[in-house]
Symmetry: C2
Subunit: 419 residues, 2 copies
């Protein structure tokens, strides 16, 4: 098989399908999502049989236990996917929404109207549920989508592709609106990244290496998320009990995700009081602390942090801790080492709360709340397709609106331009 030609042909079919999907009404798109949900449930046996092939090969290939877990389609996981589809169907359709309307002095009525992006390419790793989630969000926002999953999930994704296309056709939509690339090597990725005439957006989901490869080779705009080096700054005027709860939640509740806290910054005036209160609970939960000299003085026995700890995204039960002279020093530290992802201040001081919010450069800045809230569902966007840490188009969690753009619609009565 000629991979480049195959991908190019898929991109062209996707572009044609995208025209039809972009003009489809909400009910038709929701019918397709409902049809797919029913098929996932009725064909769960088929899905699990195909998934079993991937799991057998994965075991032979020596995949780690967490990777095999993420790859596994249990009956419960399939039910979760079906529920997710029905949740997306229940979300408001962003397409056609009038964002703003105004009149011009010459009588022209100008509006900005939300429209789909067109064709979205998603490149991801081995979790088959991403296939269904991403397809559902792109479709609901009126887009066609081309999915390139990981080689480990090849059979599972192939089976899902069959069901998705049947679901689309059952609702009267073109099956090519959602296509799964049947080959999984980098050549297929490169071919996607060159298809600038047909694909409007690339979303890479996976490790930093994959994302940097995509950015370096794409002629198509990329929405990306490099890493989450999230801080909690406990201010001199913090409620220390509240700060302890927030830090524990931000670090321990789910340490392996991008919105978990990686570095704790503590104002020097309350450092001793706060750290002697908060550290034992974190340590008891298995958190390894790595402290600045002042932290190590307050908490004897804590390992000294090295320079490489400050920009580290541990994704694990490890926490860097630094005592800072004041909020300015905290903001400077975040500006230097942060990843524009999620930053929290815990404080009771009105002026500092406002200033932190204004000066900290991150997609989500919080006052007195856990970093774990940087999530499309938690912030009320419905579902999310990822979190963008670059500023163009979307910054922060990306929901349905971020899978659309706006066009200008102008109603006139024969106006012409004179200057």
């Amino acid at each position: 098989m000629d991979i480049e030609a195959t991908v190019e042909q898929m991109a062209r079919s996707a572009k044609q399908a995208s025209v039809i999907v972009s003009r489809s009404d909400t009910e038709t798109k929701n019918n397709a999502l409902a049809a797919l949900a029913r098929r996932l449930e009725s064909e769960a046996g088929f899905l699990m049989t195909e998934n079993r092939k991937d799991l057998d090969q994965g075991k032979k290939a020596g995949l780690s236990k967490p990777m095999l877990d993420r790859l596994t389609l249990t009956r419960a996981a399939i039910e979760d996917m079906a529920r997710g589809l029905r949740e997306v169907a229940a979300l408001d359709d962003p397409v056609g929404a009038v964002v703003k309307t105004w009149m011009r002095p010459n009588g022209l009525q100008v509006s900005r109207v939300r429209i789909p992006l067109g064709v979205i390419g998603i490149i991801y790793e081995s979790r088959p549920n991403v296939t269904v989630d991403a397809a559902a969000l792109c479709l609901k926002a009126g887009n066609a989508v081309i999915l390139r999953g990981g080689s480990e999930a090849r059979n599972s994704n192939g089976a899902l592709a069959v069901l998705i296309q049947k679901g689309l056709e059952e609702a009267g939509l073109p099956g090519d609106a959602v296509q799964v690339i049947p080959v999984t090597d980098r050549k297929a990725v490169l071919a996607m990244l060159q298809a600038e005439e047909c694909i409007d957006l690339i979303v890479p989901r996976g490790g930093e290496g994959l994302i940097r490869f995509v950015v370096a080779n794409s002629r198509i705009p990329v929405l990306k998320h490099y890493k989450g080096v999230c801080h909690v700054y406990v201010d001199a005027d913090a409620d220390l009990l509240m700060a302890g709860e927030i830090c524990f939640n931000a670090k321990v509740q789910r340490p392996g995700v991008c919105n978990a806290m990686e570095t704790l910054l503590v104002h020097q005036d309350i450092a001793a009081a706060f750290l002697t209160h908060a550290a034992p609970r974190l340590q008891k939960a298995g958190v390894e602390l790595r402290g600045c000299p002042e932290t190590c003085r307050i908490l004897p026995g804590v390992k000294a942090a090295q320079e490489e700890d400050w920009p580290a995204e541990y994704l694990d039960l490890i926490l860097a801790v630094k005592v800072v002279s004041d909020m300015e020093a905290a903001v400077d530290h975040i500006t230097r080492y942060g990843s524009s992802h999620t930053e929290t201040i815990v404080t009771s001081d009105y002026a500092r709360a406002r200033r932190f919010v204004r000066e900290v450069d991150a997609s989500v800045v919080l006052v007195n709340a856990s970093t774990r809230f940087n999530d499309g569902g938690q912030l009320g966007l419905g579902a999310e397709i990822g979190i963008s840490t670059s500023k163009l188009h979307a910054f922060g969690p990306m929901g349905l609106e971020e899978l659309t753009t706006t066009k200008f619609v102008v109603f006139g009565d024969g106006q012409i331009r004179t200057t």
Copy 2:
């Protein structure tokens, strides 16, 4: 001089300066714009002396008359630049605007707040007024900017850079917030395109070759505008007098710009009546028509259009004309040959007006108005930095808002995440 190292150093300085500019209040930014306007006026002699060097070299190098015209800084052109600066100062500051606020069931108050993009790189050709316009818009939106102008305007841009930096410093802002790269070869462009750690957005303004070079080589998001192949579709139910006025304006008022009409589509039922009415006036104004067979039948003597005429951006007094069977055929033609720029329907039919607006894929879609209104000033955005024909981040004219993004600001009372 090591160009790569120079550009890298400029990008780092710009990033530092961007932090200060992003936190500056509206008054400070407006003071800088006003100071620059005064300096342009008081130093007009210096500017014209430097500009004279470029003009002399340009003449020696055999630049065309239109290119020399665009390069020339007359006293009137300098006054125009100063007026433009005062107009940008008068525009609303987009930074800090709360786009939307909502409450979550757990009491979190979530807002989307407008923030600057950071550092913007602008790559453009030989018009020195772009140096001032682009600097003003980027600065007002709270960004730092790095400008790489054309080699033909090297002395003019160098002189403007001096005045801009003095204006910034007079207002207490860092001079490095606006920097002009002193070398003009492609190596400097390449170095900009690699500075992904410091530059957040690249805006290329110029010919399609330059833009494709930038897209192919950039690791930084690019906002681009390839070309404007704009259509006017005259429907069976059009007011033919109105249609004639709109077509004449769209083609003749300023044929060399991207929002001029390049192809006229006419419904077959009114083709003879409309073309015999509209064509003579266009031809009298010097417009060369290139018609489909039916057009040539109606208008004997009109040159036959070739396949390459349909996707052509003439930027000249040439117009391709095609008679279509109905609106669907017109929309299909636009979908196939259009450039997502500007499309107009002239009609009196309510349903077709609505359908055209919904189905045509373009950054600006108009009913009964000239294509020439696709312009930030005309549509009410204030000034514009260009027109985007790709959908990510901005689609259509880009004003101050398009030089910003939003972040999420979350106010809590100690909320933590439980699921």
